[in-house]
Subunit: 453 residues, 2 copies
């Protein structure tokens, strides 16, 4: 179905653009989806991209612009005059996309572009949408929708719908409102299709409709749409008046972004980066956690420093430092990852914190016994040093239990004080557990070496 | 909108069920969405759940069953006779859900249930769907759809659609096929709504339609639907005949599962688990990676063991073992996480492997200089041990570069040999980098201590 975007294809396109061979360049774009054209952006110079986008039919060019990565779009629009942005792009977008694009502009440019929009209704919709926080239902919604009055007959309904449908790419639901624009329910296309012409809307619509308010958090919107398998979700104001609707494709981005953010945080990356970003940006995104890790390592060095004598007498204690540190980190990350995911997908269930900790204790006791057992056998048969054998495996057991409890408790506590629990995973918890784990290890060593020697 | 599922609400429900107070129990279920009813499952005994589900209207009960977690559903169905499964549940489901539910039964029970399905067409659809691999478009699709012939007029079209629409929850698209059932395009409801009665289908349908084949991988299906913002995607066989359609709600699950799987693998958890699972299951899911980590730790111990004399002479070398190990792990995970995400979201772009490695080299050189610099200053002013100062910061620099290159290269290599690159992140790469990092550290130590002392 989709043309493979090979290196050769892009080189051909670039040479058409550079030679101002417009018709051939356009012909190459003919069968490409806007998302595919957006995918080429990074291979083009700013000049080539500008030339290409202004060649395209404005409808298609606007779709391409919407599909661009946010920072690419900002860079691209910076070079264009406000009237061109308004007439070639914004005029042809649905209100939610238009608001997203305009929202990223500088304050001055935003005003200029808004003044250059021909359709006053469209400009008004965009201004309304810009007033909502990006991470709320209001920030996600579009104003275009099909709205019918409960008192209309099916014939009036279809006539009005034809009028309203012109602004819409596709119709999924028809919303039924009262005279005061209060959302009453939905009229499915199926019901409309099966109804006779004399029926009234109030007799065939479904009064049950799930909706959110403009200030509902976008992650909650995603959870609701996912849980109830919704394709479109209407948005109301605080007194129930219909303000807009959110479609699932916008929410899929929220779901993926959320999952990726957790994963990146767990991997110690602070801002959203991709392989195609510049080295400086990639470096900046990673340095904060690495510096925390480094400082943690310095603290650990100071902790071990207090046991310098023990190491000098029993240098074999040092051999197992990385094992204890790594296991403390691994166990802690596992425990916190399960909690973080549970919080993210809202599937923690009704278990209380105490029950969760109790369960985690059982899991870590089981794992602790098995892992310490393996390590005990290894050292018992290989090293023949009884003090070392007991120290290493006892410490591992204690460390596993502590790490599991910390790993469970910390994200739950963070969530309670409204800090993103995903922060708990990754380098942060690893470093904490390293410090705690090695302190336990050397303390155990001091006690057990006294007993066995 | 949704009733808060409090502990009290559930206790009330349980007492109604236990006292066989059916009408009150049903009244409590009245306003709940099937997904909410499914959410209560874990709080009910098997007996209570069975009683409740058979009380419900079969349409609703089937929706609840579809919303249950897979292992809960398996446990629930194990206790029910095949005829009840067929008549109370399967008969009322769309074909894709029915196939998913039946697919999880044992081979014997599967046959029994299929024989008890009243609607032969439904049974046939399910058998067809069961033949596809779960992780392909065939495994995701449903057979129910609205199909019209290109030669029909709008009136015939609407009449036929009314007939076909009975099997469907909602209509999103109408597919246009040839006499041989080859998919030709889509007819939007909007076009149909705006057309006059005398128009023919072939004059108003859109011939451009994106489709996949039954054997397309489900992750590719998710990528296509996400990239092109599709709500429904038709599925054809290898010669283009229309076989079924996939809706976005099924694909949202694929997207979330995929993102969660990567995150769990990175956190060292092998199978899909949730906080509500049993301790034994939670323990089993985590042990494999922990054992790998443990074995890695033992190898590291052996590596350090070769430098026992060095540690005895310079015990301060041991202080920085955790720092070197942790930084090697952190850097490696960061590098591999970016690659793994790029592969997952198909956004790696057209850069070659060499360019990626080159860029990663630049990033790690930048980070390496900054981090080693900080560590150098710390040791220079605090420890006053020049040999240690140079050893630790030089090793850190070298280790950061090696870890970054490994972290980039390994997931790319795994992807090339068709192994899930997410395996590279988490405990695996941490352990590898620990071994490599500490070997470099002690080797450096031996060289630099000779120079400085």
């Amino acid at each position: 179905m989709s043309t493979k975007l090979t290196r050769k294809y892009i080189d051909d396109l670039k040479s058409h653009l550079d030679e101002r061979n417009d018709s051939d360049a356009l012909a190459m774009m003919e069968e490409l989806h806007p998302a595919d054209i957006a995918g080429i952006y990074e291979s083009l110079s700013l000049e080539e991209a500008t030339h290409l986008y202004l060649l395209l039919d404005p409808e298609k060019a606007s779709d391409v612009l919407v599909e661009l990565e946010e920072d690419d779009r900002e860079a691209f629009l910076k070079a264009l005059p406000s009237e061109v942005i308004a007439s070639q792009f914004i005029d042809h977008m649905e209100s939610d996309d238009a608001a997203d694009v305009i929202g990223d502009l500088t304050e001055d440019k935003k005003q200029e572009v808004l003044l250059h929009i021909d359709d006053v209704e469209q400009a008004g919709d965009i201004v309304d949408l810009l007033s909502y926080d990006e991470d709320t239902a209001g920030g996600l919604m579009a104003k275009e929708l099909i709205r019918v009055n409960e008192n209309w007959g099916v014939a009036t309904c279809i006539r009005e719908m034809r009028k309203q449908a012109e602004d819409l790419d596709e119709i999924y639901y028809i919303y039924v409102v009262s005279d005061e624009n209060v959302l009453l329910g939905i009229l499915s296309l199926k019901a409309l299709l099966l109804a006779s012409a004399s029926t009234r809307v109030k007799d065939i619509y479904a009064a049950e409709v799930r909706s959110v308010q403009t200030d509902t958090d976008s992650e909650e919107v995603a959870q609701i749409m996912e849980k109830y398998d919704l394709i479109v979700l209407p948005v109301t104001d605080s007194i129930g008046r219909l303000m807009g609707r959110i479609t699932i494709d916008d929410v899929v981005d929220v779901i993926r972004d959320e999952a990726e953010k957790d994963y990146q945080l767990a991997s110690g990356i602070t801002t959203d980066v991709e392989t195609t970003d510049s080295p400086a940006r990639l470096s900046r995104a990673r340095l904060p956690w690495l510096i925390i890790g480094l400082l943690g390592g310095i603290v650990v060095a100071a902790v071990i420093g207090r046991f310098e004598e023990d190491i000098q007498i029993n240098p074999e204690m040092a051999f197992f430092i990385p094992l204890i540190a790594a296991m403390a980190g691994n166990v802690g990350i596992q425990s916190s990852a399960i909690i973080v995911q549970g919080i993210a997908s809202n599937s923690l269930g009704l278990e209380s914190t105490y029950r969760k900790l109790g369960k985690e204790l059982i899991v870590s006791l089981m794992n602790g016994i098995i892992l310490s057992g393996i390590l005990f056998l290894y050292n018992y048969f290989i090293s023949h040093n009884l003090a070392l054998t007991f120290t290493v495996s006892t410490s591992l057991f204690v460390v596993i239990i502590f790490a599991a409890l910390f790993g469970t408790l910390i994200p739950l506590l963070l969530d309670r004080v409204k800090i993103d629990p995903a922060l708990a995973t990754g380098p942060f918890i690893t470093t904490m557990n390293d410090i705690m784990g090695l302190f336990i290890y050397f303390l155990m060593g001091r006690i057990l070496y006294d007993i066995f020697i």
